[in-house]
Amino acid sequence: MSNDVPTATLVKDGKVPGDVPPRPGARSKHKRRLANYLINKGLQLRYVVRVLVLSALIAGALGWMIYQQEHQASEDLVAGLADLTQKDEGLADFEQKIAEDLRARDRTLVLEMAGLGVSLVLILSLYLVFMTHKVAGPLFKVSHYFDDMAAGRIGPVTSLRKGDMLQDFFASFRESHDAVRKRLTVDADAMQRLVDAARAAGVTSGTAAGDEIEALAKHVERRRQALR
């Protein structure tokens, strides 16, 4: 599969409505939008199509059985009626009428079942899209954070939305992300302490040690920006 998670090109102006935290600063509280329910088409549609095909097969096979049984009953009725009316020609019209009525009922049954099948497909599709969205959403969000990490940005992580699935996985990701962020912050603080102490001790640029200290200061500054 090559389309599990949307690539970063889907991110417009640093955010995708309802899902991606804006940067910098804290994100606002996002809500689900109908337009964004198909976040990960490959993953979501695969599951939706499989369940739909299965449901269509079950409904089709059983619908066919229902029609067969109904049709059989109608034919038996018509045949029974024919037996009764063959002795009385005056009842031939009545028999025709009943037979036509039964055929009409069979046709109505087919239409009713087709309508039921279409309704089922629609309702099930919508429900499955909503349901798979709850998995695709967290995956999309985490993959966005992964992109940030790949770019050397380890900013704060916000929670998933209410109702999202994969909460355990997200908690594990957040715990790791926060641990890495905290460790890098502590390290940057330690480096900053050396820079401050060296400057306080009169170590200035122009010497090899002084240049290294200044380079370290810039490194710490860049790191602090990455950790915002």
Partner: protein, 284 residues
């Protein structure tokens, strides 16, 4: 997902091995349920929908089958079988009815013909005994054969209805079982990569940045996993840049004997040496 669960240490080969270890991992039935909550929720939904469909439509099928069976049975019952020959209508009511197998008795002398119906006169008691027609046994046999045939057809119809019920129940049970297995295998291909990423995340949390291996064949979330690999590489890049910077600073500090400048500088250098050692170890 319980990424720290020791029982899930190798979910179908998801555990990252030592760098030199062979990577020919295979799926195992024991490890199919990696992320129970996610996998069972999706699987049970699929199974639930199918079970509801089968139950609802099966109920309709059985309703129609009942109708068809009842109509067919009614039609069979409506079919008229040959009438039994009337042998007693004009005979003495006290006369015993003849056995169906009784052969036609020849009319003795003194017997009369009553409009086609023959009787036998018992002279001692002066009673009339009806004499059965010539085709009496054939007609009785035809009557009972017809009734037996009707009963057999009704039994066949009832059995046919039961067959439909059994087929429905068996199909439902097989389908549910098949769907449970299929659903778990399907979701396993999503849960597996998540579990694997979870293991690497746990290592990252503990400050270990091992090599990240590829997913197994057939796994899903390949793009998601690529995002993770990039993230891992990004964090490793940050650590490497720290290591390089610290090595340069510490080497220059040693050369210039910066530790002697002030106790604060000495303490900061000692702390950074510890950090450098830790970072170097995490990248091994």
């Amino acid at each position: 997902m319980s990424t720290s669960d020791p029982h899930h240490g190798n979910p179908g080969g998801a555990k990252p091995a030592a760098p030199a270890a062979p990577r020919g991992y295979k799926r195992s039935w024991k490890n199919l349920l990696i992320n129970k909550r996610y996998q069972l929720r999706f699987t049970l939904f699929m199974v639930g929908v199918s079970a509801l469909l089968i139950s609802g439509l099966g109920w309709l099928v059985m309703g129609k089958a009942d109708d068809a069976t009842n109509v067919a049975i009614g039609r069979i019952r409506g079919e008229s079988c040959p009438e039994l020959p009337d042998v007693a209508s004009s005979a003495n009511q006290a006369a015993p009815a003849p056995a169906p197998t009784l052969a036609p008795t020849p009319t003795p002398a003194g017997s009369g013909d009553d409009g086609g119906r023959r009787v036998q006169i018992d002279e001692s008691s002066l009673t009339l005994r009806p004499v059965t027609p010539n085709d009496y046994s054939e007609r009785v046999a035809a009557r009972w054969a017809c009734e037996l045939d009707q009963a057999a057809r009704i039994r066949e119809l009832t059995a046919g209805r039961m067959r439909i019920l059994y087929v429905l129940v068996a199909t439902g049970v097989l389908l549910v079982l098949g769907l449970v297995i299929y659903g778990i295998v399907l979701t396993h291909r999503v849960a597996g990569p998540l579990f694997k990423v979870g293991l690497y995340l746990t290592k990252m949390r503990d400050g270990r940045y091992d090599k990240v291996y590829d997913l197994r064949k057939g796994d899903q979330l390949i793009d998601f996993y690529e995002h993770f690999k990039s993230a891992h590489a990004g964090v490793v890049g940050l650590e490497r840049s720290d290591v390089e910077r610290l090595r340069g600073v510490l080497a220059a500090a040693d050369k210039a004997d910066l530790a002697s400048k002030s106790p604060e500088v000495a303490a900061a250098l000692t702390e950074l040496r510890g950090i450098l050692a830790r970072k170097e170890k995490s990248l091994e």
